[in-house]
Each structure stands twice: as structure tokens, then as C-alpha cells.
Symmetry: C2
Subunit: 202 residues, 2 copies
């Protein structure tokens, strides 16, 4: 005898296929969804379909938006000479929270990772190169991909490809985060912090 009815089992496996949701969480979520009042369940389903219906990729920066171009790309006060390249829309949100950066963004929706089948054209790199050749005012590309093997490879790939163009390519600093103890830092972080040391002599 199946542990749950087929429709419940199907709901559990669909929820379990979402990132970060294991078997136990999927069961817990499924029974929560089954116990929800009708209006909450309808609102949940509609939030999914509506967000998908209304959301498009910005034709300029590829970020998710409901107006094209997105509010950042169409903001006349932003500095159009700098483009910060990130992996995901959540990275844009994190950088915007800081209220320091006034340039534009480009969202790759992934990183170059040939092992897991993510090639150059599977992420928004072709769109980046098209954008750079169409917009001569862009002087600097900041590679703000994650500090991972793939994030670094993507940054390196872009810097090599843009070398002849004269566009400056920079990489966000790698080092010890604020509040970190040198004693507990991992070797790679410590090596990067040493290699990237800056002059503070006055």
C-alpha cells in the first residue's frame, strides 16, 4: 500500500524537486498546503502564475522585471559608464541594499560551468557582449560573480574576451569578511587577502 494517495505523493515530489527542500520538508509543506484555507491556497497558486505571467527579463540587463526596460536601466540618475555583472537577481538586490553603487547591472542567470552543462550561451554572456558593443559609453565592467571556481572562471573569461576592446574589467575583492578572525580563516581566503593587500602607508 502506498504511504500517501497518488495526488498527495505527486504534490510531495513536486515540492521536493524545489531547491533546498528535502523529503521531510516536502511532506510538511504538502500537508500544510492541504490544510490551508481555500483563499490562502488560491493566493499561493495565483502568486506563482501571476509572477510568471508578469515577469520578463529586462532586454538590457536581463534582470527579472515587470516593466521593460527595468527601473534600474531606465533610471536617468544611474551611472551608465559602469556595468556590474552578477550571477542572479538576488545579487542585484543585495548590492542595491548597500545604497553605494550607482552604476548599472547585468544578470547572467548562472555562471560558466561546462561540467554541469552551462556553456557561454546558456548564461546571459552573449547579451552582455552585444550590450557592450552597442553602448560605447560603458567604460568599466565589474565582475561580481561569486567567489567560487566557476565565478572566477566566468570573470576571467570575460576579461580575456574584452581585452582587445579597451573596456576596463575589474573583479570584486576577495579577502577576510568584516569581523573575521585570521585564526579561523580558510587558507584560500587568507591567501587571497594577502595577495590583494592594499597600500595604507601615508
Amino acid at each position: 500500500m502506498a504511504r500517501y494517495s497518488p495526488s498527495v505523493q505527486n504534490l510531495i515530489s513536486r515540492l521536493g524537486a524545489l531547491p533546498g527542500i528535502g523529503g521531510k520538508s516536502a511532506q510538511r509543506l504538502a500537508f500544510h498546503i492541504l490544510s490551508m484555507p481555500d483563499e490562502d491556497a488560491t493566493a499561493l497558486v495565483e502568486s506563482i502564475t501571476e509572477a510568471r505571467r508578469l515577469t520578463v527579463r529586462c532586454s538590457c540587463c536581463q534582470n527579472f522585471t515587470d516593466s521593460n526596460p527595468c527601473p534600474i536601466c531606465s533610471d536617468p540618475t544611474r551611472d551608465k559608464s559602469v556595468v556590474c555583472v552578477v550571477e542572479s537577481p538576488r545579487d542585484v538586490a543585495a548590492l542595491e541594499r548597500m545604497h553605494e553603487y550607482k552604476g548599472l547591472y547585468h544578470v547572467l542567470h548562472g555562471v560558466y560551468n561546462p561540467i554541469s552543462g552551462k556553456g557561454i550561451s546558456d548564461i546571459a554572456l552573449p547579451q552582455l557582449f552585444d550590450r557592450l558593443s552597442a553602448n560605447a559609453e560603458i567604460k568599466e565592467v565589474i565582475m561580481a560573480t561569486n567567489q567560487s571556481v566557476e565565478g572566477n572562471a566566468t570573470a576571467l573569461y570575460v576579461s580575456r574576451l574584452l581585452a582587445p576592446s579597451g573596456i576596463k574589467v575589474t573583479r570584486i575583492a576577495s579577502g577576510l569578511p568584516m569581523g573575521a578572525d585570521i585564526e579561523y580563516a580558510d587558507d584560500l581566503t587568507l591567501a587571497n587577502a594577502l595577495k590583494g593587500r592594499v597600500n595604507i602607508s601615508s
Copy 2:
């Protein structure tokens, strides 16, 4: 400026309202859902609506089922003299996994918890009492609610209410789980293990 568009923000807050899903997970899930292929998104939405459409509470044991009465209640080989009372359908699944228990179940869908507004009639206790008075063959009620203050209170409540009826009410044992070290056990568990000690002298 809002960090995300209204429809995405709505999706994030709907996902964040689910149990065990915090702010960061909700964002991660939302962008995963936005990036899904159309067929996967449709399948997810349909799994929710279908599971809710097909699933009813068994009129006998109150467990979620797509056939009423549920497969366990309508199984002629089960022992109809014992009813095991649990908090959730997941508890039934856990007990069934054991392949030891051959009696019936009763799912409360919660525990008696007046502080959080869960009264006697907010959980399936009235249905339990109706069921017990309608089925004279039930001789024992096993209270398998969780080992929590609320789980114990619910078990006590049922045992007091059934005292005049002559139905035996038992409580699952509380003690040290298999593999546990006495050294690391908490005081309450250790106290329960001592109090519930069984005679092994031959």
C-alpha cells in the same frame, strides 16, 4: 524603489508564509520558480490544485485520503479494537513504515493548545468521541501524540474524558531513544525513562 517587482514580492511573501521557509529560502524558491520551464511550473501549480481537489478527510479516521473511507479504515485485516490517536497524517506514515501496528488510526490535525487558540473542537477530538460511542468494538485508545506539553495535555484530556466509558487509554512510552547515551540525555527524558522503567527480572 522596491527591491523586486510587486508580483515577485508577492510570490516571495506567499512562499515565506509556508512553514520552515525563511526570507532567504523564499527568495531562492521564487527565482527558481521564475526560471523554471513552463511545463514544470504548470506541473507544480497543478500538483497543488489537484492534491487539494482530490484529497478529503476520511470520515472515520480523519486522515487525508482520496478514497473515503481511507485504505486503512476499509482494510478488513486491520484490528478494529485498537485506535492509535496521532497529531498529523505524517505520524500515520511513520507508524505504518514500522509494519508492526495492525490497528486503526485517528488523526487529530493538531493538539489541544489553548494558548495558540487550538481548542477541543479545533482538532478532530469531537469526531474521536463520536467514533468511540458509535463503535462498541473499540477497546483501547493509544495516545501517540508527540512528547510535548501539548501532546501530553491532549493525552491526559482524552484519558480523563474516557474514564467512565471503560475504554482503556494508553500512552506511548517516553524514554531514551535507541543509541542514546545517558550522559547526554536531557533531564526530562531521563526522568521519564526512570519513571517508566519496566521489570526485566526473570
